[in-house]
């Protein structure tokens, strides 16, 4: 595989005296599927926020496509091709589904026909029929798909899917997984942050596990599932006996 397209080097994030993350080093290669797991409060969302620029690390560096982006604003990273979806969907209410996708496309100059591109992406996630509907009126599954579609509109190189399947039924999870798999097959690297273990195990090439802000495991899905430390973090000491 090629060099990493996304690189986190010794990143730390503290809020006052509380260290929420790190020091942590992680890399992602082009086209890779990386699963990120860990219990609540383990620092997963803080890591994502440091990657996307919503938070500035207290220490360490973030590199994307060979460029240091540690201090770069989130909108600049997004334009470079670092897209994310949110744990709790954040649709642009008061706008149609189509307009939600035009927002990122407005800021990209290499898209000849933004409306056609938006419709193409909506079709690819199964939301074409809802293009003219108000985004606030979508179902939970549709909101999840809209989050993904908005992230995909600008042809990202990396997609960070933050609990994109939370609250969905098994059939709906399959639906979202199929979208992510198709996307990955088109060359986009995907970081999946997820609590639904069968989904993350099925999807990921590699998984990292965080606990209290630190990386405690990094490996293939099977190795992670059998890692005693990961089992202890998830199921407690007794589960190992």
């Amino acid at each position: 595989m090629s060099d990493p397209i996304l690189l986190v080097e010794n990143v730390e994030k503290s809020f006052g005296a509380l260290r929420a993350l790190g020091p942590i080093s992680v890399s992602l290669k082009a086209g890779e599927r990386l699963g990120v797991i860990g219990p609540n409060g383990s620092g997963k969302t803080t890591l994502i926020n440091c990657l996307t620029g919503t938070l500035t690390p207290s220490a360490g560096e973030v590199w994307f496509l060979g460029r240091k982006v540690t201090d770069l604003a989130p909108h600049r990273r997004a334009r470079m091709g670092l897209a994310r979806s949110f744990q709790i969907p954040k649709p642009f209410t008061g706008m149609s589904v189509l307009e939600n996708l035009l927002v990122p496309l407005d800021h990209l100059h290499d898209v000849a026909d933004p409306r056609a591109r938006a419709m193409e992406v909506l079709a690819s996630v199964g939301l074409a029929g809802r293009a003219g509907h108000e985004a606030g009126g979508l179902t939970q599954l549709e909101l999840r798909k809209l989050e993904l579609a908005r992230a995909l509109a600008g042809r990202p190189k990396v997609l960070i899917a933050d609990e994109a399947m939370a609250g969905l039924s098994d059939r709906e999870i399959d639906d979202v997984l199929a979208i992510l798999e198709r996307l990955n097959e088109s060359g986009v690297a995907v970081i999946m942050i997820e609590h639904i273990m069968h989904a993350v195990m099925r999807f990921s090439h590699r998984i990292i596990c965080l606990e209290t802000g630190r990386l405690i495991a990094d490996g293939l899905p099977d190795a992670i599932a059998n890692d005693p430390l990961v089992q202890k973090v998830y199921f407690g000491e007794q589960a190992r006996h």
Partner: protein
Amino acid sequence: MTAKTSLMTAAPPPAAARAPEARTLVFCACALAVLALGAVLTQTIANPYVFFAAFIIVQQVALATGWNVLGGYAGYINFGATAFYGAGAYTGAFLLKAYGASIFLCLPAAALVGGGLGLLMGYMTLRVQGVYFAIATIALVVMMHTLVLNIDYLGGASGLALMPPEPPAWTGGQVQFVFLVMLGIAVLAVACARWIEISWVGRGFRALRASEEAAECAGVPTFRLKLSACAISGAILAMTGAPLVFYASFIEPETVFGLALALNAIAMPLIGGKKSWPGPIIGAVLLGSVQQAATITISSELNILLVGVVLIGFVAAAPDGILGLVDTLRKGRQ
């Protein structure tokens, strides 16, 4: 469903997306018609009071539209509209006193001052949100008011009486002329607001109003956009203030930085609807007309009470204004 089949069943873009050029042409024709109607009225109506009252109502339209760029589209409630309005009014007064400047020179100068003030305020305050931003805008009014009170050249607390230059003969008189200028400002403000609304700028504003974090992560330069909103809003509000001294031949800080104007600037978009450009116009025409009627028939002091009561009523019963209410009723029927 595969991507291929989805693409095949893709619905066409919604009707609202079609033919924006045609709508813009209709809008331009209407704007020109309004200006032409104003010019015709100055030639056909003899009673100057009509233009004194119409100036105030049209000024309210420009004021409400200017406020709505930041308060409505970007979602940043600005209690400091009078700081910008006053800056424009005193820019006009200063240029008239110092150089005998024409109103057509005072307008761009006021827009520059208001835009600059907006940028400055935005740069210092936009990193805070919600109530803290609103408090900062109140502080700006107090600062501007205090500044003017302490400048003797601008008349200090006593105000400043000035004689404006003669208006063009074809306008029929000073008040008719100033009314036409204010009508032009209002049309320009509404055209600017409409452009913002239908362009990528308005889409960016709506996105950041819905979720600033999501907008930023979607590639929207939220801080720069908010700064632009402050500057555009400030420029329109200041331009609205610039003709005041040409209208009244007198200017004083208590009036231009007063509560009545500040309250009106907020109330009108809230009454009409903040989400689209016709809202502030509806609110301004309704409230401005009622206020003018109340001034003649009851008392000019009743204005603020009237605004307060109407504002509370709308906030409680129709927080999205008249347009929002109409929209809700229409959806209910469907």
